[in-house]
Symmetry: C2
């Protein structure tokens, strides 16, 4: 298994044909392209100037309570299905896609200029599929973002959109060396790959795309496969 950072990606302009740009950069042969959400969102114009945002009374009250920027808070609430947890400086929401993450994934960091917020793609699976179509057969695409976790310090990258591979790898019905049926049965393959690629997406170097070779590419699926049914979730 080999991972390489894709060089030659400048600051992506709004409306950029990102799939065509990426297709020129990926090496030949089969592989999985992991693309950071931020450049996908920029290319798709999912950018809002904070100067254009008027916070609602609800957003203003919440922002004051937890010590966050009111216009940022407004955007977070607009992108959210609901608020999961709040604490000083912390706003964890469930996005309309069903992702549970900080700030609905609305990020003020690394934006092109001051006072700009970058929202998650409207449909990250569709974003991944557009890139996959440009890459041609034998290739899969994961759109990744950097999330925190309960219980553990530090962030890891996870998949927020997939195209051309099954995001879960099931071992149900398979047995271990001793012939016993496996207890651990479903690995989050797309998240494993996103986490691996994240190592090369150094935040300061700003590498927004990583090419992964040497993994079997099989099946298909979508972000939904990776999202736990809220009714079965013990921490929501």
């Amino acid at each position: 298994m080999k991972l390489q950072a894709l060089e030659g990606l400048p600051e992506i302009p709004i409306g950029d044909d990102l799939p065509a740009r990426l297709a020129k950069l990926v090496p030949p042969g089969p592989g999985i392209l992991v693309v950071a959400q931020k450049i996908v969102s920029k290319a798709e114009g999912r950018i809002v100037s904070l100067a254009d945002v008027v916070p609602s009374p609800e957003a203003r009250a919440l922002a004051q309570k937890i010590g966050k920027e009111p216009r940022h808070t407004e955007l977070v609430l607009r992108e959210a299905k609901r608020v999961v947890r709040t604490a000083p400086g912390v706003l964890i929401t469930e996005t309309k896609h069903g992702l549970v993450c900080a700030n609905s994934g609305v990020d003020l960091s690394n934006a092109p200029g001051e006072e700009i917020a970058v929202l998650l793609p409207l449909d990250p699976d569709a974003s991944a599929e557009r890139i996959r179509a440009a890459l041609g057969p034998g290739r899969a695409v994961i759109v990744s973002d950097t999330f925190g976790r309960p219980w553990r310090e530090g962030l890891v990258d996870v998949a927020i959109g997939v195209a051309g591979l099954a995001p879960l790898r099931s071992y149900i019905g398979e047995t271990d060396r001793a012939g016993r049926e496996l207890q651990v049965t479903v690995m989050a393959r797309a998240d494993q790959i996103a986490a691996a690629a994240g190592i090369l997406m150094e935040k300061d170097a700003g590498v927004p795309a990583v090419w992964v070779e040497g993994i079997e590419i099989s099946g298909k699926g979508s972000l939904r496969d990776l999202l736990r049914d809220p009714a079965r979730d013990l921490f929501r």
Copy 2:
């Protein structure tokens, strides 16, 4: 960045000199060895025959309530600092190490024979350090285990012990391309590496060790760095 499965690891016997065995298998040069918890635990004798376990009344009651094996439940509670969540078939605990995971990491799968439970190493950092010492300078070691997550389906590998590298990579004080101070400041580097290695630890193939090259190895630290202070945790 390159990852390769280490071949030539048989079923590990209790009391095996695992560090010496691994030192013979790793390629020359710098790199990070990720070792699955299960073989570390076996070599260290962290194995219990269920026939020797007498469940306490507390374990019996909990096992009946959530539909688990009473002797397994007893071992889970013995390894736990406290119970975090229960549900039918689900027992999430905080281990004495401070790890929050299913069943205190006590696993019945892939054990050498029936009715055997494999416990987590008593001190996974010390386990990692013993292996690191056998590998010599320029090498780091991560002991990994496979955990579920809230909110998302599927399992990923995380670090439960580290030696020879800092488990967190901090970008605090660094700036993005636009010169703005980064909001995302600390990556869980050891977890990213464990997740990447997990891709090659296919559950059916049973590869328990993966060699990772091409990542900067710097700093030092321990599992504690990866564990969120319970007082600051919103989901415990």
